[in-house]
Symmetry: C2
Subunit: 307 residues, 2 copies
């Protein structure tokens, strides 16, 4: 019995729970893509898409590329305009759908990006525009995590498919009652100052966290300074495993983080990485925690070297 | 390319939007089952299950039977204890999962059924108990339609599968914020009187609707008196099509209903049926509407006979 409906391309490190959710819908073959500091590796994307392309008999698209182009989870990367333009060009050339998890987009702490969404590179005025990008937004990251109200921006040609979706029709919409509350929050001008307050707090926390890491992280470790979002993705030296450091760090400092392997599509990858979130703790606690984490890491690296 | 993951058995008339939702998840072959006045036809279920059974290589179950055993949508049927016991016996014998949409169960207007859920017939103390029934509950029918908070009761062996579900994990639970509100409504003893009020209103409406139909529905039409729930399912004489009567009824009386074919799994079926809901309008408006509908139906049947 063959059980095969298409391909799901994802970044080699990605938001794994989204991936788990998508696995429910159909039996997709998941293909990881190389990730650079400025976004997905376009050459890797083209090679892998090209060699797998087929004509689907019962689906609009033969493949989806799921990504988080703006303040990527877990890596914090902001996809560059060149990469965004390249993804759109490839999606048109090979006719696959790009699903962008655009949930951190307004949380920029550096210069505001010219376009905060990859979708804006799929320009409707282009001669070869068909519509290949879906943008998934959420209030959960900017109003409160329990809100779980979001929205989808889709090309016109995909609207009928969503309109006829049983999941959307059966519920009536995405979370009716809370959507009403969120709508009222905006009408009453209560959401706007709340979002501004969260934005300022996140920015302050991220900048403080980066400052501590720049001065205290052992120089054998590396990280790409995030310009927005929730996450910092730290690379350990080769001889250190994140899972072992997590054990050590929790035992000595009661500090936890998520190890890189949790975000890796391929078994055994990501062991040299871990992710810090700046969203949960107040600045003081966060700075103290990262400072102690850096100290613990120094001690741990030393202990590994000596064994 | 073969695209095949298993079977979904459903009643020949069923809640179609649920079916649409399930179609998203995988490519299932849908098999309709004969429905009698006391529930699904057990013989038809056994024959169809037996001839399709296979060993799934990548799924816990090779098939699901989706049904609404208590105050069925659209037919209003209450599955009898004999039918419930029979379904459980067959689900054990052929190892398929029974998913019960138990959303109207407490809305009984006649004697309270001894067991309001088919799940209670899958008795844990049975020697051959494994756990074959899922019961899906909802606050949407008893607190308010926009609530969209529900719960699942599952056999212990299925809990790990749900715990590891990406859809549940990604959202954190079924609708966090509204679930908190509903929880508080119960703690503050506000939900209980509200539900009691709705229950009394629905019961009054259903009994009034039935009384009007018993005295005014043309005697060439038939319906099974519902003992609970939202719906009354009316059968027209053979020469009358529900879709044509709907047009007539809307034009002359501005009354609408849902035609039977909307609930039919098979193309072309259900044309002799239509569904009335007692849930939306107050008793007076409902009684007036059904009364006018019966008059319109008499006139329409007459006009059809004469053409």
């Amino acid at each position: 019995m063959i059980d095969f409906n298409g391909y799901l391309f994802v970044d080699e490190y990605t938001y794994m729970i989204a991936l788990d959710s998508m696995k429910h819908f159909t039996s997709l073959t998941i293909v990881p893509l190389k990730l650079n500091d400025d976004g997905v590796d376009l050459n890797d994307l083209e090679v892998k898409v090209k060699e797998r392309r087929f004509k689907s008999q019962n689906k609009e698209f033969w493949a989806i590329y799921y990504t988080i182009p703006t303040y990527h989870n877990p890596t914090g990367i902001l996809f560059s305009p060149t990469v965004c333009r390249g993804i759109v060009a490839l999606s048109r050339k090979y006719d696959f759908l790009v699903v962008c998890d655009d949930v951190y987009n307004i949380l920029h702490y550096d210069n505001k990006p010219q376009h905060s969404r990859l979708m804006s590179y799929d320009t409707r005025t282009d001669a070869d525009y068909v519509g290949h990008v879906i943008s998934n937004g959420s209030f959960s990251k900017i109003i409160g995590p329990g809100v779980r109200v979001g929205w989808l921006e889709v090309p016109p040609r995909l609207k009928p498919q969503l309109r006829h979706s049983g999941i959307i029709n059966s519920g009536g919409c995405f979370n009716n009652y809370t959507a009403g509350i969120v709508g009222s929050l905006f009408e009453l001008q209560l959401a706007q100052p709340h979002i501004a307050r969260l934005y300022a707090a996140y920015k302050e926390r991220m900048l403080a966290a980066i400052a501590v890491l720049k001065s205290e992280l052992p120089n054998t470790c590396r990280f790409v300074t995030p310009s927005g979002g929730y996450f910092i993705w730290i690379r350990l030296p080769d001889q250190v495993k994140a899972s072992e450091f997590l054990e050590y760090c929790f035992e000595h400092e009661k500090i936890t983080f998520i190890v890189g392997s949790r975000f890796a599509v391929e078994e055994g990858k990501g062991q040299q990485f871990f992710r810090i979130s700046i969203a949960f703790h107040k600045k003081e606690k966060l700075v103290d925690g990262i400072s102690r984490l850096c100290l613990a890491l120094k001690a741990f690296i030393k202990s590994v070297k000596h064994t």
